[in-house]
């Protein structure tokens, strides 16, 4: 009995000892390294059309703001908002009484000046006759020198008075014409055929008008048959826009339809700038935007002010190498490679496109790790903040991780254009290479050259697996 117990003890402890020893030895000599779960895709050839997306408003191509050149009370407004008008049709009438009185006054002044001129002519004739008579008498020494001089002076005066009277007639004529013009301006007709898109005044209101600057804006007449989209493009993207580029338009009011357009005009100055002062009149916080006009090809019941989203096809490359957005990230080059890579980085700085709807933010598209002191970089160097653009261009390079067996290789790349889902790769990769396309954290932070990896399903797929297997 005691012997069997002893044997049992020896057996149990032996087994425990052997197992522990084996596991310990294995643990000591086993190489320990992190295995990062990733997803992969292949480098493909595809067509890429670069699109710049911007928001704006639909406006008529031709739109006239009607404001009077004379002041007064509106006595007739025979149009309504939304009404179609023809060119030359009466659209506004201002009370003419004041201007009628002014015209009458001017006319009277003109007639008075004509009468004065006649008087001056008569005086001149008399003075001329007296001077001639005095000349004859003076030859025969029948009149004194002083009388001759007086006659001559009277003739000169009469001539001058006639000249003055003629100028007064011209002045009175001009005043009369001005009064006629002001009277005519109390009746306003439409300068174009179109639609009253906006009506700001009512009958009985007083409006202010001047000839030298815009007065009270009474209404707006627009040609709604020709519409354009006016969108705001950021300064980083506006350099890609050229007149004639095709545009796809999505108007919020017509969600189920897409419209086509063409770029017609690109602003030379930013919207917030005051060129005269040479400075931005807005605060530094606002993004700099340039207005781009896009003619809409289709006719639809657009109304001025409707919201629109424009996708401008800026560049298009066919049959080029492409990788998914998520595959591209930045890393600090290793110390020994910094010299060689600084040239690559200077030639290929991280894209800093402006933020806009859909696919316009390349910082969102590339896995850029910003301002993280925990980012694993080669040899312990930290990646610089994306705010310091010039420093980023030198310190980091854009890379893709290529799968080689159980490990990844960090490959510097050069990017071209991009669309909604893919970057064009111009240097660094070959068609068919397997590259890391997920997860986000692995690409942005964890992966380095030579790290061990294992392929796992994407998070959404993993959740489906869990739902099946519980």
């Amino acid at each position: 009995m005691a012997k069997s117990k002893k044997r049992r003890k020896i057996l149990v402890f032996s087994v425990i000892g052997v197992v522990l020893a084996a596991l310990t030895v294995a643990a000591i000599f086993r190489k320990r390294e992190a295995v990062i779960t990733i997803q992969t895709e292949k480098v493909i050839r595809t067509n890429i059309t670069e699109i710049v997306t911007a928001n704006g408003k639909i406006q008529p191509v031709v739109q006239v703001k009607i404001s009077p050149e004379v002041s007064g009370e509106i006595i007739a407004l025979p149009v309504k908002e939304g009404q179609c008008v023809q060119k030359g049709q009466l659209i506004l009438k201002i009370k003419p009484d004041f201007y009628l009185a002014a015209r009458s006054q001017a006319e009277a002044g003109y007639k008075s000046s004509l009468a004065a001129k006649s008087t001056a002519e008569a005086n001149l004739r008399k003075a001329q006759a007296d001077f001639k008579r005095s000349q004859d008498l003076s030859r025969h020494k029948l009149v004194s020198d002083s009388d001759f001089d007086s006659a001559q002076a009277a003739f000169d005066v009469a001539e001058a008075q006639l000249s003055s009277a003629e100028h007064q007639v011209e002045m009175a004529r001009a005043s009369l014409d001005s009064a006629d013009d002001a009277l005519a301006k109390t009746t306003i007709v439409s300068p174009l055929s179109g639609t009253v898109s906006k009506l700001d005044s009512e009958v009985g209101e007083r409006v202010v008008g001047t000839a030298t600057m815009a007065g009270t804006e009474v209404m707006t007449v627009a040609d709604l048959n020709e519409m354009e989209a006016r969108v705001d493009i950021g300064e980083m993207d506006v350099i890609l826009i050229q007149p004639g580029q095709n545009v796809r338009l999505e108007v919020d009011a017509f969600k189920d339809r897409k419209f086509n357009g063409t770029v017609t005009e690109i602003a030379d100055s930013a919207k917030n700038n005051n060129p005269a002062l040479g400075i931005s009149t807005s605060g530094n916080q606002e993004a700099t935007k340039f207005e781009v006009k896009i003619r809409v090809k289709e006719k639809e019941a657009f109304r001025p002010g409707m919201s629109v989203t424009a996708e401008i096809e800026t560049r298009s490359h066919s049959n080029v190498l492409a990788v998914p957005f998520a595959s591209v990230t930045v890393r600090a080059p290793k110390a020994k490679d910094k010299k060689a890579d600084s040239k690559l980085a200077a030639a290929n700085p991280p894209s800093t496109n402006s933020v806009s709807a859909k696919a316009n933010n390349s910082a969102a598209k590339t896995n850029v790790l910003v301002a993280s002191t925990n980012a694993p970089a080669a040899e312990g160097t930290n990646i610089a903040s994306a705010d310091k653009k010039s420093k980023d261009a030198i310190k980091t390079i854009e890379v893709v991780f290529v799968v080689e067996g159980e490990r990844v290789k960090m490959v510097p790349i050069k990017k071209g254009i991009y669309d909604d889902t893919h970057w064009e790769i111009t240097e660094g990769l070959q068609e068919g290479q397997e590259i890391v396309s997920g997860g986000y954290r692995a690409i942005a932070r964890d992966l380095e050259d030579g790290k061990k990896i294992r392929k796992g399903p994407a998070l959404a797929d993993k959740d489906k697996e869990e739902a099946k297997g519980g």
Binding site: K5, R8, K9, L11, V12, F13, I16, V19, L20, L23, T24, A26, A27, R30, R32, E33, A34, V35, I36, T37, N374, G439, R441, D446, G456, L459, A460, K462, D463, E466, G469, G470
Partner: protein, 261 residues
């Protein structure tokens, strides 16, 4: 009215001096547990029978925590699990991506390996004592309500303490397996056969709970209960194993499956 009948007292031998040393008891519980518990039953109460195993449990547990959270592969797995949990919240619409990024940053800062080692070590100390006390209480309850035997709590405490030695051995094996395989939740269990063991999946947790050392510990506990209560081993084992099954199922189904491993 007649007073209620007294519960039958277990037949106990008169107390005698222990023949095994503490060390011998701790080692013999692996090979000859019946002999060890028989001595525990008749000998005077000895706190060393449970305090020493608990201390050993704590030492091994702290060492495990320090070693495991120093493994790059394990830390990477933890990060991936954290990211996955946060991403689930985003996909369910409970938090935005910006909030998810913030949460990730906070987790990195405050739940890194160093913090995990600290909290893990503290947790091991608490668990060490709570575990033994809990099992002692459970055994005492089984004696009173199921087996209808009055047991001394100190004795059940000693039995629970001594069986902890098997848990300690299981923890050492689990530590070595985790280091070798580079995966969390490894042990001498069916989890070894599971590809991509995930502690968030209930099926994987059940596989992890089916651990050789757990069964061994339950068997030895049954022996201890049987000796203390003077009942057949089968009856004691039936009670203990049934309780364990219910406990594990409850922990796993309620989302606290990590405690079941």
């Amino acid at each position: 009215m007649e007073p209620p009948p007294l519960l039958p007292e277990p037949q106990t031998e008169p107390p005698r001096t222990a023949t095994m040393s503490v060390g011998a008891r701790l080692m013999n519980v692996f090979a000859v547990p019946g002999e060890v518990f028989q001595e525990v039953k008749v000998a005077p109460a000895s706190a060393a029978n449970w305090v020493v195993p608990v201390l050993l449990f704590i030492i091994v547990g702290v060492l495990s925590v320090l070693v495991i959270f120093s493994q790059p592969a394990i830390v990477q797995q933890l990060r991936e699990q954290q990211d996955k949990a946060i991403e689930k919240q985003v996909q369910a619409g409970k938090i935005t991506q910006a909030q998810a990024d913030q949460a990730t940053a906070v987790l990195e800062k405050f739940m890194g390996p160093t913090t995990l080692k600290l909290f893990g070590s503290a947790g091991v100390v608490v668990v060490g004592f709570v575990r033994v006390l809990w099992w002692a209480f459970i055994l005492w309850l089984f004696g009173r309500w199921v087996l209808k035997v009055s047991l001394d709590f100190n004795k059940t405490l000693e039995v629970a303490g001594l069986t902890t030695m098997i848990v300690v051995l299981g923890a050492v094996v689990a530590l070595l397996l985790t280091v070798n395989l580079g995966k969390l939740g490894m042990g001498a269990s069916l989890a070894l056969a599971v590809k991509d063991f995930d502690m968030n999946r209930k099926s994987h947790l059940f596989a992890g709970a089916a651990n050789v050392f757990s069964f061994w510990q339950l068997a030895v506990t049954s022996i201890g209960l049987a000796r203390l209560a003077n009942v057949p081993f089968v009856r004691a084992a039936w009670v203990v194993f049934t309780y364990w099954l219910m406990q594990e199922s409850l922990l796993i189904m309620s989302g606290m499956g990590q405690w079941a491993l």
